[in-house]
Amino acid sequence: MSSSPSPRRSTVAASATDANLVAAAAGGDRGAFAELYRRHLDSVYGRLTRVIGPTAELDDLVQQIFLDVYRALGRFRGDAAFSTFLHRIVLNVACEHLERRHRARGRNEPLEARQVEALIAPGASPEQRARQREELACLFALLEGLSPKRRAAFVLVAIECMPLEEAAALLEANPAAIKQRVLEARRELARALERAPEQESP
């Protein structure tokens, strides 16, 4: 019987650059697009989680992002890296979602327990897990107070430590505007931190 391992996909597809895969996918090659989204699924999920928080809509939004990318492949001209093109869509979808959420339900989005659990280190004890769940809930509640644009800028620059120019490219704004959004986000968060103990006191 045949027992030797063989590559999962053709060597061309496996070793192809993102640009080559995009070109093939734009020509109707679903396998090439599958390779693209498999490569980028983790980074998309990670960034989306950091920007919108561990909410119940995460999986649907990830699906929506890759569908949007699939539809937009024909518009990708290759001026920027595919990852930049992809993460612009991630941030657009994230900001639109945050705006919808604010309009529809105010600023108190309940977190999804399953998604919060996924953020906690697997080796944590039950007590540690409970504490971390509470801490995460507080942190994401603080971010909920920010406007979507400030929140996205704060996550990219202050949490992911992304250079202003790179964040500006993803958020399609100039670096000065991003700097201003981060500054305003820090001010709002500092005010929220000052208020927080008062709210907790009986």
Partner: protein, 387 residues
């Protein structure tokens, strides 16, 4: 507070802790997302194809019909458990929007007859239990506990399962086309028709084949062909002879199914007339089917018609003696008519009992029969079928 103090506090109390959070997908979550994305892309491709060829109704109709056949194959999972029945809450466990809803039946403590029938997308076996199940007529599984297996969305004609833990013995008839895929820790096993087992444990997965041949993909993306008599483990990445114990378990699994095929036959395998004349059995816990119906209605509102059809098929199969099943068939006929597929509408209506107890349903059925029979919306004698 100065600006630098303010920034330092935000950094220490918010940014730094959030920087430590590293959202990551586990294997099962990634598989579910991948399947959901594939499903969304399939729908997008279908929509594009339909827009490009608006006149080819028959192709869309055949796609819809194929979807219904697939739904029929996936829609009925009937399982038997030992003396400790534990039926999971359905619907809430749906792993993804396009995953097929399974129909569960536990034998419970009543000898010889089903005591419950519950749609679900996952199968659970406690330690010492063996949960047996069918998916349509082509997949027969035995889950040896403790273990859990769930369905995932799959392409037309295909079946996809995610084995979290436990030993899954599978007999798959692939003669009608399509593939069966089992995702387990460190392995994705693809089958075109065989008798095999997958074990999911802490150290990875083991795949063993009694008949036929399977293809397994390990975590590094390498493909392995496992033939009859062989066993493969993801931890060792090599083949070895199947153990006597596992080979015997597979033989017992196959023999048990062979002896109970008649009892295990899903409802839709029963000829319609014979089935309708059968005594009314306690075939459904109403609340679950009603929840499933609410899901189908939501899918129809969202224009997720494939999902709506699959769910309606499941309800129609599970409740063929009841009003929910009749209503599901009427909705299936409506969907087919909306798609211009009068033949499919007639097939759905033909599955209804000759006389419907509910006058409203009977009136609706007559109206839909009229529309299904007459392309111009006019009934016998030129009278209109009505709105």
């Amino acid at each position: 507070m100065s600006a630098s103090e303010r920034d330092a506090r935000v950094e220490t109390e918010i940014a730094a802790p959030l920087r430590q959070v590293r959202p990551a997908l586990d294997e099962l979550h990634r598989a579910r997302l991948t399947s959901a994305i594939e499903g969304a892309l399939d729908r997008e491709d279908e929509a594009i194809a339909a827009r490009r060829a608006p006149g080819t109704r028959h192709r869309r109709a055949s796609t819809a019909a194929a979807g219904i056949v697939v739904a029929a194959a996936l829609g009925a999972l009937i399982f038997w458990r030992g003396p400790r029945p534990q039926v999971e809450v359905p619907v809430a466990h749906l792993p993804a929007r396009d995953a097929p809803a399974f129909l569960l039946r536990d034998r419970g403590t009543e000898e010889g007859g089903p005591s419950a029938r519950t749609p679900s997308t996952s199968l659970l076996a406690l330690a010492g239990e063996r949960a047996r199940a069918t998916i349509g007529t082509r997949v027969r599984v035995t889950l040896v506990g403790p273990g859990r297996v769930s369905t995932l969305p799959a392409g037309p004609g295909d079946v996809q399962l995610a084995l979290d833990s436990g030993r899954l013995l599978v007999d798959y008839d692939g003669h009608a086309g399509g593939i069966l895929r089992v995702r387990s820790p460190g392995a994705v096993t693809t089958v075109v028709g065989t008798l095999f087992a997958v074990e999911a444990g802490a150290s990875g997965s083991r795949v063993a084949v009694a008949r036929g041949r399977v293809r397994t993909e390990d975590g590094a993306g390498h493909l392995w062909q496992v033939a009859a008599g062989d066993s493969w483990t993801s931890a060792e990445g090599r083949l070895s002879p199947i153990s006597d114990e596992l080979a015997a378990a597979l033989v017992r699994h196959e023999a048990a199914w062979a002896s109970e095929t008649a009892a295990a036959r899903p409802l839709r395998d029963v000829p319609p007339a014979a089935h309708r004349s059968a005594p009314a059995a306690p075939t459904r816990p109403g609340v679950d089917l009603e929840a499933l119906y609410a899901q189908a209605e939501a899918a129809m509102r969202a224009r997720a018609l494939g999902e709506a059809r699959r769910t309606l098929e499941t309800i129609a199969s599970a409740d063929s003696n009841g009003q929910l099943g009749e209503a599901a068939l009427l909705d299936l006929a409506r969907l087919a008519l909306a798609d211009g597929d009068r033949a499919e509408a007639r097939r759905a209506l033909g599955r209804l009992p000759r006389r419907l107890a509910d006058p409203a349903l009977a009136e609706t059925a007559n109206h839909l029969r009229c529309r299904a029979e007459h392309a111009d919306g006019a009934g016998d004698g030129g009278a209109p079928c009505g709105p």
